[in-house]
């Protein structure tokens, strides 16, 4: 092996973090993609769903491939495919092209991530340490993804999310190429081909359920912040960065508790509790999303790493069982997205109607002179027409403000009351979906409880 261990470990960890961040990195860009590619909410969800679905389907076959042709070669080719598809994603000008490129990206990503798990033990010297590193890299990538995606969307464009990944994936592939060359030269695989054991069913099932809950949390929170509360992508990125920061604290907390089952159970409870808090937001204020986000962040760090370690502990070959965990996680993400999307799109439509009725009641009951009311009602009506199907912005309907100070105060008060009704509607529209995601997270306690006690 010609590459020094440290750069290679960094490259391997980077590859895992990069690929697994991709399952959530576009979350904050979805509203932008939704507008630019002129699609529907359900349509744009496929930018996320397609990647996760293909990852779920390709992970185990990719792991078998890594075992047959060599993990070095598989990881290097996987990263190259991932990078190439990233270029295609960045160049896509239609939803169909973007979704197709995301599918190819997922195939490359699945190959890279599972092959890396086969390479890590030899590089770090222990299967247990390798599994821990691999799990933490994956959890960190998934948690950091939305914030990074949001920053890139706001500062550059949604396309830059994919284009930035290209050099990173290629850089991660460079130290792995040494292993690939070694494999090609010697024809010796990095691990002996052993019979594959049965996957850890309860740990993988719990992983799928918790991932469904976490995907729901990220996806819904981002949509609430951007589409409901009208934050910019960068604003939303800053807000949701509370989750990865809390995840770092969760990783430290995890080090203090050796029992994987206790960490998994506590993590699932933290995630569900946080989601329960998001379902019960008492006001449309960013600060109130922070305590629930911290709980979800701490929870996801605890539960994802604990369940991944449990699923891999004592099982060989690692790549195949790692493939099963990847498959379970991404299947969970797909289930989570597909479960909550129809619910919240229906609820948004319902709440939009309720918001308009409540807003009309506010206008009718206000002290603003009748002719001003009629003018306002007509302007608001046209804003609603322009933003059909979305939570409307109504601020511009109040411009210019009346010159008469008394009337101006009345109009300003009316605008605030109307905005309050819209905020209530937007927030309330997401509540049932957050509650369902919380319930899914709680249900994960069943397979966690059933899991064989594995003390790591």
């Amino acid at each position: 092996m010609s590459a020094a261990p440290k750069p290679r470990v960094a490259a391997l960890v980077l590859a895992v973090g990069l690929v697994l961040a991709d399952s959530s990195i576009v979350v904050l860009a979805l509203p932008e993609i939704y507008r630019e590619l002129d699609t529907s909410v359900a349509g744009v969800t496929w930018v996320l769903v397609s990647f996760n679905l293909v990852m779920a389907l390709a992970a185990v076959p990719a792991a078998h491939l890594a075992r047959r042709v060599g993990p070095g070669r598989t990881a290097a080719v996987g990263l190259a495919v991932f990078a190439g598809a990233g270029l295609a994603c960045g160049a896509a000008d239609q939803l169909g092209t973007l979704v197709a490129a995301r599918c190819v990206q997922a195939v490359g990503g699945a190959a890279a991530v599972t092959a890396v798990l086969e390479l890590l033990p030899a590089t770090v010297g222990s299967e247990q340490r390798a599994a821990g590193l691999w799990a933490v890299a994956g959890a960190t990538g998934a948690a950091l993804g939305p914030a990074i995606g949001g920053l890139l969307t706001e500062l550059v464009s949604w396309q830059s999310i994919f284009l930035v990944q290209v050099p990173i994936a290629l850089a991660a592939a460079v130290p792995i190429l040494a292993v690939a060359r070694h494999e090609a030269a010697t024809g010796v695989l990095s691990a002996e081909l052993r019979r594959t054991g049965r996957p850890h069913v309860s740990a993988n099932l719990a992983l799928a359920m918790v991932s469904a809950a976490i995907a729901g949390a990220l996806f819904l929170l981002v949509l609430l912040l951007i589409e409901g509360w009208r934050l910019s992508p960068i604003g939303a990125a800053i807000v949701v960065s509370a989750m990865p920061l809390a995840a770092l604290a969760g990783t430290r907390l995890g080090d203090w508790v050796p029992s994987a089952r206790a960490r998994a159970a506590a993590g699932a409870i933290f995630v569900s509790g946080g989601l329960g808090g998001l379902a019960l937001l008492p006001k449309a204020t960013v600060a109130l999303t922070l305590p629930p986000q911290i709980m979800v962040g701490v929870g996801l760090a605890l539960v994802l790493s604990a369940l991944t370690e449990t699923a891999l502990a004592g099982r060989a070959p690692q790549a195949i069982h790692g493939g099963w965990t990847i498959s379970a996680r991404h299947a969970g993400v797909v289930i989570g997205l597909l479960a909550v999307t129809p619910i919240f799109t229906h609820d948004i439509a319902e709440q939009r109607k309720d918001a308009i009725d409540a807003g009309t009641a506010v206008i009718l009951d206000s002290r603003v002179p009748p002719l001003t009311k009629i003018g306002l009602a007509q302007k608001i009506e046209s804003r609603l027409e322009e933003e059909r199907g979305k939570v409307p912005t109504i601020g511009s309907a109040f411009e210019p403000l009346p010159e008469d100070p008394e009337e101006r105060d009345q109009v300003v008060q009316l605008r605030e009351e109307l905005q309050d009704q819209l905020d209530r509607a937007a927030t309330h529209a997401f509540s049932p979906s957050f509650a369902i995601a919380a319930l899914i997270g709680l249900l994960a306690l069943l397979p966690i409880g059933l899991a064989r006690r594995v003390e790591l």
Binding site: G277, A279, D354, I356, A361, L364, R424
Partner: protein
């Protein structure tokens, strides 16, 4: 602390933190943070401080909308949105399968209820209310919509409705 106790403590902390967060958000009104519900237009809503022409006009419009919405079986807010523009009116009549004649009847009934409410609140004298009611029962649909949107004209142009009662208008309007 032994490893098993640490695990139990972590689970306890997670449960306590979850219950605390949910409890605090519930106590702060998290379960009722939703848009205000619309009220039943058939229920009488007392006029608030019917003093001054502007306030009377506001209350008159609301009573008229309530009366018409009650007749049509929709909320006051839905009807107000429907009457905002000709396009919104068309959408409304198509959605609810309401013809122009039925809409006109409902709006006239709403205007008459508004006169009743104005009279009951002491904002309109019985001497003015009587002929106003008779006139409103006959007005065409477009004019009725105009009036419900701009009740001020009822009071400003009352003479055109009241005919012989016009000389009494200033005495009986507050």
């Amino acid at each position: 602390m032994n490893p098993a106790a640490r695990g139990q403590l972590l689970i306890l902390v997670s449960v306590a933190a979850s219950l605390l967060l949910i409890g605090v958000y519930l106590a702060a009104g998290g379960s009722s943070y939703e848009p205000a519900k619309t009220q039943d237009p058939c229920k009488h809503r007392p006029w608030r401080n019917p003093e001054g022409l502007q306030e009377i006009i506001q209350q008159f419009t609301l009573s008229a909308l309530d009366g018409a919405a009650c007749e049509l079986g929709v909320s006051r807010e839905t009807l107000a949105q429907a009457l905002a523009t000709p396009e919104s009116r068309e959408r409304f009549t198509r959605r609810y399968g309401i013809g122009d004649a039925e809409l006109a009847r409902a709006i006239r009934a709403g205007l008459v209820r508004a006169v009743d409410d104005a009279e009951a609140a002491g904002a309109l004298s019985p001497l003015v209310a009587g002929p106003l009611r008779s006139t409103l029962r006959e007005i065409p649909l477009e004019r009725a919509i105009e009036l419900i949107n701009d009740a001020e004209s009822i009071f400003e142009q009352a003479q055109s409705f009241l005919g012989p009662a016009q000389s009494l208008l200033e005495q009986f309007l507050p």
